[in-house]
């Protein structure tokens, strides 16, 4: 053992020896091992059951959240993919009427309408002009 206070990076065998003797367990080594092993199954059981409970508790709200996300995603996707249908104009005047602003709604409605204007409305307007 060294008496100088400087730090030594190696273990001190003398100090280690007396400390080891001072800390040596009192009881029988084999008895301690048996005591630990007697708790083996119980420790594993205790660890497994709460873990499954936790997983189950996560599972239920997880399913609810996933279902809600699916429904929300479906509705959102449908709203994006479905084109907005402009109402077909009731008459050619309505279709050709000047807009209140540039690029007006009447012309826009005719151009963007999915359904063509009714043919009778178009012919009627031509006959009236003659």
């Amino acid at each position: 053992m060294k008496n100088e206070p400087s730090f030594d990076h190696r273990p001190d065998p003398e100090l280690g020896g007396v400390l080891r003797a001072a800390l040596e367990p009192r009881g029988d080594h084999a008895a301690f091992v048996a005591r630990v092993m007697a708790q083996y199954e119980r420790a594993l059981d205790r660890a497994t059951i709460p873990a499954l409970d936790i997983l189950a508790s996560w599972f239920r709200p997880g399913i609810a959240v996933a279902a809600a996300a699916l429904v929300a995603g479906f509705l959102f996707g449908r709203s994006i993919l479905t084109p907005v249908r402009a109402p077909a104009p009731a008459s050619i005047e309505a279709a050709m009427a000047p807009a209140e602003g540039p690029g007006g709604a009447g012309l826009a409605a005719l151009v963007t309408a999915d359904d063509p204007p009714d043919a009778s409305v178009v012919y009627a307007s031509l006959v009236d002009q003659r």
Partner: protein
């Protein structure tokens, strides 16, 4: 120092359900775990309870063990934590500091005399050291762990480990020198 390939093999066998493999690990590390726990707690019965808690906790966490690293420091960290937890609970329960009368582990036969007296003195001296300091010196000088391994076990920087070992040694060496002087 517990870094033999058998340790990781035993861990793998335990994880595959071989109870006896864990028994070999307990057999191998029991004495060390009990000493480390006793360094933290002082009382040998409490220390055995903590060492047992440590082994069973390690069993439950065995899948988290990284087989590329030595098993001993991983296990000792769990044992030291179990001992510290037990000491905190005991301190709260008793609302008093470590009882040095417990450190000697109860009455001893007179026949043990000289060695026993030194042991009692060392245990008392250890009990007066801060917990981290006495654990560090025991891990270094008794169990032979490196500073880096002790840093991992105690969760502190390596430089702090060196400092703790240095201060603990200074106190214990003084005590040992006094005892030798008296014995002459």
């Amino acid at each position: 120092m517990g870094n033999s390939p058998e340790d990781k093999d035993l861990v793998a066998q335990t994880l595959s359900g071989e109870r006896d493999a864990f028994g070999v690990l307990v057999e191998r590390y029991a004495a060390q775990a009990r000493r480390v726990a006793r360094a933290v707690l002082g009382d040998p019965d409490d220390a055995d309870d903590a060492a047992q808690d440590g082994f069973l906790s390690a069993l439950v966490k065995l899948a988290q063990y990284d087989a590329r690293r030595p098993f001993g420091p991983w296990l000792m960290r769990i044992v030291a934590n179990a001992a510290t937890d037990r000491r905190r609970r005991r301190t709260v329960r008793r609302a008093e500091p470590l009882d040095t009368s417990l450190v000697g582990g109860g009455p001893r036969p007179d026949a043990a005399a000289v060695r026993s007296e030194l042991g009692d003195r060392l245990r008392s001296a250890l009990a007066e050291l801060p917990e981290r300091r006495r654990t560090a010196v025991v891990l270094f000088d008794v169990e032979g762990y490196s500073h880096a391994e002790i840093a991992g076990i105690l969760g502190i920087p390596e430089g702090t480990v060196r400092s703790e070992v240095f201060h603990a040694r200074r106190r214990l060496r003084t005590l040992l020198a006094d005892w030798k002087e008296q014995a002459r």
